[in-house]
């Protein structure tokens, strides 16, 4: 089994892929998932993250079969910012 990792928006472009799967034994928290996929880049302070489509924190625990997502601050709604 594995942890599915997804990237969205500007992060997806920067990572040059929509997502990857990692072996669950190498990551117990979201921060450790990031270490596995980011090639040594520190976790950006403004990056948002989710586990199984619920917002989470870097120290949130992950397990086999989870879907982890990383993405920049959200900008939905009208064009009135």
């Amino acid at each position: 089994m594995a942890i599915t990792v997804k990237f969205f928006a500007s992060l997806r472009e920067r990572m040059e892929c929509e997502g990857v799967a990692i072996d669950a034994q190498y990551a117990r928290t979201i921060a450790e998932v990031w270490q596995q996929v980011a090639g040594g880049e520190p976790l950006p302070a403004d990056l948002l993250m989710a586990v199984n489509m619920e917002y989470a924190e870097p120290d949130s625990v992950v397990q086999d079969g989870d879907e982890v997502a990383f993405f920049p601050p959200v900008t939905g709604g009208g064009h009135d910012h």
């Binding site: 969205f8 989710a50 489509m53 920049p72 959200v74 939905g76 064009h79 009135d80 910012h81």
Partner: protein, 146 residues
């Protein structure tokens, strides 16, 4: 209560009329309806904007819109709610989002609709990428309502 992610253009006024027509059991029960329509502008931060792509995280978006409507239903006595949010390629003057709330009294209708759009903007996973004449850029963040 209806939540919809729409990949194509929509007419918010027609959607409202159609939705309200189906609220047959609630006829005579609501005294106030508030509507918010967010529309695409042809400018932003001093630049001409020719269009945009609106990306979302399928399923998580719907999940959070549902959470937000359930929270609103706990805070106000809502007879019904409608949210339609566009994704994909959008052009200036296109409606992006429709939020409507039906209540007995107007205060709750205004407050609930405000809550729905503000929470949608801050928590639902959508991202806008604007097309400027010479380049594209991601919208970095939503500013608070003001």
């Amino acid at each position: 209560m209806t939540i919809e992610i729409r990949a194509g253009a929509f007419d918010p006024w027609r959607e409202l009329a159609d939705f309200q027509q189906q609220m047959t059991g609630k006829c005579g029960k609501y005294g106030a309806t508030t509507v918010f329509v967010g529309t695409m502008r042809d400018f932003n931060e001093g630049d001409e904007v020719r269009g945009m792509f609106l990306e979302h995280y399928p399923q998580m978006t719907e999940k959070y819109l549902e959470k937000i409507t359930l929270e609103a239903a706990q805070r106000w006595e809502l007879l019904d709610m409608l949210i339609i949010h566009r994704v994909g390629e959008i052009l200036p003057d296109d409606p992006i989002v429709l939020v409507a709330a039906w209540t007995v009294h107007r205060a709750a209708a205004f407050e609930a609709a405000r809550y729905l759009i503000e929470e949608l903007k801050s928590r639902s996973p959508f991202w806008k990428k604007e097309w400027l004449p010479e380049r594209e850029r991601w919208v970095i963040k939503n500013t608070p309502a003001g």
